[in-house]
């Protein structure tokens, strides 16, 4: 477990380039996933997090060793940010035994327990009570660990969300709940799925501390996460982080987005791209950026090679891992 004195509330300047690199890696990874899916190479049902790299990276950078996360159907970014190697993630998407869930999970069921990823979840809100329970365990064992649950704006409408956060607050467990508010739940705009225009108000139903941040600004995300984690870790109770995010792409790969104003995504890309924002802030030259890009692109390409060269499970493997 990381030592307390090492914790910082802002990202040291020297780390920022690495943060940019990581966001870019996620971006290129997701683009590759879209490409490979459209090429017919990837089975299943996939949701990419293009545009939401800052929330994954900002939050996961703020974690200490021993902290755990649970993710959603839109899980690739969180999984990479929590430390799973791109090879293992890509192999999972190809259904290979080398995958992080050994081919049993797939895009919506990514696990990497060793690295503190308690699982993506294809059921909206499904992972939130696990966070309450994990945090309860840390509390009961007196361990200085925090459990962090990601969820979307659409998820704030489901009963599981209410019950899980309410219970966490009641018991003052060290949990942080991170709302990635991209204003869409599949095809349903926020105005059609929630009566609130400021979803941080949800926290008031539990009296939970809420922190708002620009989810497109990785430094802001990191800062909010740090603050929340400190609060939770020090026994002051759980925190609700509201991240104002955007969705650049369709809900799932292949989504024609008939329901969405034509220019919305384009505009968002121009104004709220977390990668462009940080790049500008760092004043990176085109060459410097291209260098980073080449680096991560190679990692992504290599992950595809790794995945393709991976092992298909045997059909009968389907009967393993059902019971311990």
């Amino acid at each position: 477990m990381a030592k307390v004195e090492e914790r910082r509330s802002t990202l040291p300047k020297g780390d920022l380039k690495d943060v940019l690199r990581e966001m870019l890696l996620i971006r290129r990874f997701e683009e590759k996933v879209e490409e490979r899916f459209r090429a017919g190479e990837l089975p299943g049902f996939l949701h990419v997090a293009i545009g939401q790299e800052a929330s994954a990276v900002g939050v996961c950078r703020a974690l200490e060793d021993g902290d755990v996360i649970s993710s959603t159907h839109r899980a690739h970014g969180h999984t990479l940010a929590k430390g799973t190697h791109p090879n293992e993630l890509m192999a999972e998407l190809y259904g290979k035994t080398e995958g992080c869930s050994h081919g049993y999970g797939g895009s919506m069921h990514l696990f990497d327990v060793q690295r503190g990823n308690m699982g993506a979840n294809a059921v909206i809100g499904g992972g939130l009570p696990h966070i309450t329970g994990a945090a309860l365990t840390f509390q009961m064992r007196g361990e200085p660990r925090v459990a962090v649950g990601f969820f979307g704006d659409g998820a704030t409408n489901i009963g599981t969300f209410h019950e899980a956060l309410n219970m966490a607050q009641l018991w003052q467990v060290p949990a942080v709940f991170v709302l990635e508010d991209n204003k869409w739940a599949e095809s349903t705009p926020e105005s059609q799925h929630s009566p609130l225009r400021d979803l941080s108000e949800r926290a008031k139903a539990f009296g939970m501390k809420a922190i708002k941040a620009d989810g497109q600004d990785v430094e802001a995300v990191f800062k909010a996460a740090r603050q929340a984690l400190e609060h939770a870790r020090s026994g002051k109770g759980p925190v609700f982080i509201h991240l104002d995010c955007v969705r650049f792409h369709g809900h799932y790969i292949g989504d024609p987005q008939v329901y969405r104003p034509k220019d919305e995504a384009k505009e968002l890309r121009e104004t709220r791209d977390p990668i462009e924002t940080l790049r500008d802030r760092l004043g990176l030259s085109d060459d410097e950026f291209a260098e980073l890009d080449t680096e991560v692109t190679e990692i992504v390409e290599a992950s595809v090679e790794f995945a393709k060269a991976g092992t298909d499970p045997a059909p009968e493997d389907a009967l393993k891992n059902i019971y311990a």
């Binding site: 259904g95 999970g105 294809a122 499904g126 009963g159 349903t188």
Partner: protein, 326 residues
């Protein structure tokens, strides 16, 4: 007779019922602008408006429960649960409320609601987006349960379900939306509780539901080429169950196979086998075979997924076993 897809058939039943009566409306997640995650409700928003083609928040309990409340007030809501797996979230409302309100009130209320849902494997979504749970609802008095396998059946049965005064859990199969079939020009109600004999045969009866009806028909052709005559029956309504037709068929063929995509253990086939062994005991020349998914959650990797769920060949092998040819 026009040819339409299973998807169009579902849509036609909904649209026609909505044209006919203002009491009918549909609610569910992403059913409006997007036309549903399976494209079933495409075009309905444009025709009927957002009041009657109502996007809901991700709130399966309230979506089911609000439909029940509306039904108690005389509406005929169709509540779409996007994936069958999410019936687990709406289960309390469907099982403890919809199914029982009429009974607990001593007959004062009716709850004419249809819970439409879909599921099924074959596209590698993983363990939480494709399980088949129809047997759960067959166990609950007060519910009707329908699982249609062809465009004609799905249209006629959904029509009947919408007009039925009882809560109906209506299962569609994801892989069937694209199949085509001919339907009557005008929608005809198909009575709830009537099985359909898809193919007559002499040697073995295969009772199949959903996707497995089509697999059974393939298996039957293959069996025929091997000199075995197979009768294929689709109960279509799992509750009430047309025991008469099933038993009559088995009394004729003396052998039975029950096939569905759901896990075999405690699947619908268990009920059918139990009914058959009881009512056709003296007619049975071989143990009743059950074909269903192997006992595993649905795995992601396609090779494993294919291994878990049953196919035509599994039905064929079961047929062959009943005639002692395997």
């Amino acid at each position: 007779m026009p040819e339409i897809t299973y998807r169009e058939a579902v849509r036609d039943a909904i649209a026609t019922a909505m044209r006919e009566s203002d009491d009918v409306f549909i609610m569910g997640e992403d059913i409006a602008e997007m036309g549903g995650s399976m494209g079933v409700t495409q075009g309905l928003l444009e025709e009927f408006g957002k009041e009657r083609v109502r996007n809901t928040p991700i709130s399966e309990m309230a979506l089911a429960g609000a439909a029940i409340g509306a039904a108690m007030q005389g509406m005929r809501p169709i509540a779409e649960i996007m994936y069958e797996d999410f019936l687990t979230l709406a289960a309390e409302q469907i099982v403890n409320q919809a199914a029982k309100v009429r009974y607990m009130s001593g007959g004062q209320l009716t709850v004419p609601v249809v819970f439409r849902t879909q599921g099924g494997a074959g596209w590698s979504p993983g363990a939480q987006h494709a399980q088949q749970l129809e047997s759960w609802f067959v166990h609950i008095p007060g519910l009707k349960v329908i699982f249609a396998s062809t465009p004609e059946d799905v249209r006629g049965l959904l029509w009947s379900a919408i007009h039925d005064d009882n809560p109906v859990v209506f299962f569609e199969h994801r892989t069937l939306y694209g199949i085509k079939g001919s339907v009557p020009e005008k929608i005809e109600a198909i009575p709830i509780g009537k099985a359909r004999v898809h193919r007559e045969g002499e040697d073995v009866t295969v009772i199949a539901t959903g996707r497995l009806v089509h697999e059974a028909l393939k298996a039957a052709e293959e069996a025929e080429s091997q000199g075995i005559s197979v009768e294929v029956v689709d109960p279509r309504t799992l509750q009430p169950l047309d025991e008469e037709t099933l038993v009559a068929s088995v009394k004729k063929t003396n052998r039975a196979v029950v096939a569905h995509e759901a896990v075999t253990r405690m699947g619908f086939g268990a009920e059918v086998a139990s009914v058959l062994q009881y009512q056709a005991f003296d007619w049975l020349d071989a143990p009743i075979e059950r074909v269903g998914a192997k006992f595993a959650p649905l795995p992601f990797a396609p090779v494993m997924e294919q291994f878990v769920v049953p196919h035509a060949d599994d039905v064929l092998q079961a047929v062959l076993r009943t005639v002692g040819k395997s």
